[in-house]
Amino acid sequence: MRSFFIPCLTLISLALLGVFIALSTFQKVARLQLDVSTMKQQVDDDKTQRAIIVSTLSRLDTESRPADEFIKEWQRSFLSEDDTQRILPALDSLAVANVVSSSDKQNKADPGYTFRNKIIPVESVKISVSGDYYRLLNWLGAVEQEFPLARVEAVSFTNQNGLKMTSTFSFPTCFNLPASATP
């Protein structure tokens, strides 16, 4: 009888091990089901959030339509940094076209230009043109028509040995359509 004590103990231990493994599978399944439940809740929350965002986006899209139209109107006047190279030649061409002579041309990039507490990088151009008063105004008008976003920072007329108009323009180079937006 004694010789069967260890086999009995072994069998019972094996059986209990089997029971333990079986119980652990219950725990694993319970944990997994809890994960599923949590994930389901998260997915439901995400779906709700997505629906809210879609709705908001739809509203924003509708509301931003005038802005789209507005940008579309001005989009062709936007200047990139590469475009700044053609400003001075364009001003000269306009001077020739309006029969005024240009001189003292200076241009420099001003990346720290502050406008209404916002930094708006600009290409600052200073140019002097001489000629008749009405031709100078025509040239100024032509420049403002060619570069409608150009801001006239200063204009000074002096009348010494002929009428001379010295103008300083700021050409904004930061107005670009964002990559993520399609007008």
């Binding site: 069967f4 959030q49 924003l60 409608p148 107005f175 964002p178």
Partner: protein, 474 residues
């Protein structure tokens, strides 16, 4: 230990070892084939044994008379092979002496008796062990008397060798005569009155002895008697043992009508025939193996029996397989549930990832829309604070039209503010200058410019107009 554990798990441990003499023959061979060999001095008889309800039954016997050397082993081997068995029970029918002993003292149980007779026989037989002999005992049920049968080890070794040559395992090696007396003592002792004559007769042997409630008488026997001498031998033994009125327990397995012979003697003996109708009563007693007090087995060599588990341990394999089966079922069910949950979780994870991608896309669209709105806002501000100046100068020019001479004029926007400073210097009289400056102010007011600061100065040859303005913002 692994073998024992496996055997216990598959409930094989509950089957006793065929050579475990502590277990009755009927229990050891309830499901195993067994042959019984009755060994006479010059012949042997073989038959198959089967057990029904613990009682042995026998097939027809086959007789083999000893001939050439080892021919008996070949005969037994062939017989065993034909009946598909490897185990043999031996009923020894010759080669013993018998006497009454009053020194026999049995131990408490069959197991203890067998152990002591195997390893320490003097403790039971009450005399020093004789190496050449092995003993068998038929013990009185209430007193320390026993019929002690002594066998020559040489005879027993020879028989064991024959069985080994026949490739058989000896599982029970008994003397039929001893077992027959033990059977009567165990099952029919109530038939024993004050003096009872026990008479056994078969085709080759006559055995008699006196059974008493408090004693056993000296046995008388004749083995391997020729058939023609049997009747005479029986008569002789009856003369020795019969007394008027003495009860007779008769077991007759011979063609001789022993009961008639007793009746002829007119000694008015009452005859009891307890094993009437049972074929091979000696072999029956050997294979019935009923006594709790058997204290011998004649097998001369060592045989180690594997232990077997008690029936009460059956709960262990039942519990084991029940728990394993339950665990297995739980495992299978939970595997299925886990697979289903994992599949569901994967599906949900994919949905979540898809939604996250959607959200990123939506966030990009929202950022795009906000960026456009911001751009539009900045652009609007920029345009509002940078109106074209050509029209402004035309209006100023109209306001200054007259005889006065403009020396210079300028506008300077205040950086980052919707403000600008207008400065005009003219060569004119004070009245003309004031008039012109008033006209300029009027024009500016009409255009929506608001005055922040306004000054006029006297300069050489004229006057200077200095007006800080708020630019109108739409």
């Amino acid at each position: 230990m692994i073998r024992e554990t496996t055997a216990l798990a598959f409930a094989r441990s509950f089957t006793p070892d065929p050579v475990d003499r502590k277990v009755r023959l009927s229990e050891r061979f309830s499901k195993r084939p067994l042959i019984a060999v009755t060994v006479h001095e010059n012949a042997l008889e073989v038959s198959c044994v089967a057990f029904a309800d613990g009682k042995p039954t026998f097939s027809e016997t086959e007789l083999f008379n000893f001939g050439e050397v080892d021919s008996e082993a070949a005969f037994i081997r062939t017989y065993a092979a034909k009946h598909d068995t490897t185990d043999v029970a031996i009923n020894l029918q010759y080669g013993f002496t018998a006497m009454v002993s009053n020194r026999v003292k049995l131990a408490g149980s069959r197991a203890e008796n067998l152990d002591q007779m195997q390893y320490n026989p003097e403790k039971i037989i009450g005399e020093p062990e004789q190496i050449r002999l092995k003993h068998a005992l038929a013990t009185h049920p209430t007193h320390n008397f026993a019929l002690r049968f002594d066998f020559q080890r040489g005879d027993l070794d020879r028989i064991a060798t024959v069985m080994a040559k026949a490739n058989l395992t000896v599982v029970h090696f008994h003397c039929g005569m001893v077992d027959l007396i033990n059977f009567i003592i165990a099952r029919h002792w109530k038939e024993v009155s004050s003096e009872t004559a026990f008479i056994f007769v078969d085709t080759r042997a006559v055995f008699t002895c006196l059974l008493e409630p408090r004693a056993l008488g000296q046995p008388g026997f004749s083995m391997d008697t020729a058939a023609q001498d049997l009747r005479e031998e029986v008569g002789s033994r009856l003369t020795e043992i019969l007394r008027p009125g003495r009860r007779v327990i008769l077991i007759n397995d011979s063609p001789v009508d022993v009961a008639a012979m007793i009746a002829e003697r007119e000694t008015k003996n009452e005859i009891v025939t307890p094993l009437e109708g049972i074929a091979f009563p000696e072999l029956y007693a050997v294979c019935a193996d009923i006594s709790d007090h058997y204290a011998y087995d004649l097998y001369p060599n060592e045989q180690r029996a594997k232990p077997f588990a008690p029936r009460s341990y059956i709960i262990v394999p039942i519990l084991f397989w029940a728990l394993i089966a339950t665990s297995g079922v739980c495992g299978v069910v939970n595997s299925y549930r886990r697979l289903r949950a994992e599949s569901h979780l994967n599906e949900l994870t994919q949905q979540k990832n898809a939604i996250a991608l959607d959200m990123i896309s939506l966030a990009q669209q929202t950022t795009g829309i906000k960026a456009k709105e911001s751009l539009a806002h900045d652009l609007r501000d920029w345009l509002a604070l940078a109106p074209p100046t050509q029209g402004f100068w035309i209006k100023i020019n109209e306001a200054l039209r007259g005889t006065l001479q403009v020396q210079n004029m300028s506008i300077d926007r205040i950086p980052g503010q919707p403000q600008m400073r207008l400065v005009i210097t003219v060569n004119a009289s004070e009245r003309e200058a004031n008039e012109a400056f008033n006209q300029v102010s009027a024009v500016l007011g009409k255009e929506g410019y608001k005055t922040i600061d306004f000054k006029t100065y006297t300069v050489p040859n004229g006057y200077q107009y200095d007006h800080l303005l708020n630019v109108p913002v739409d």
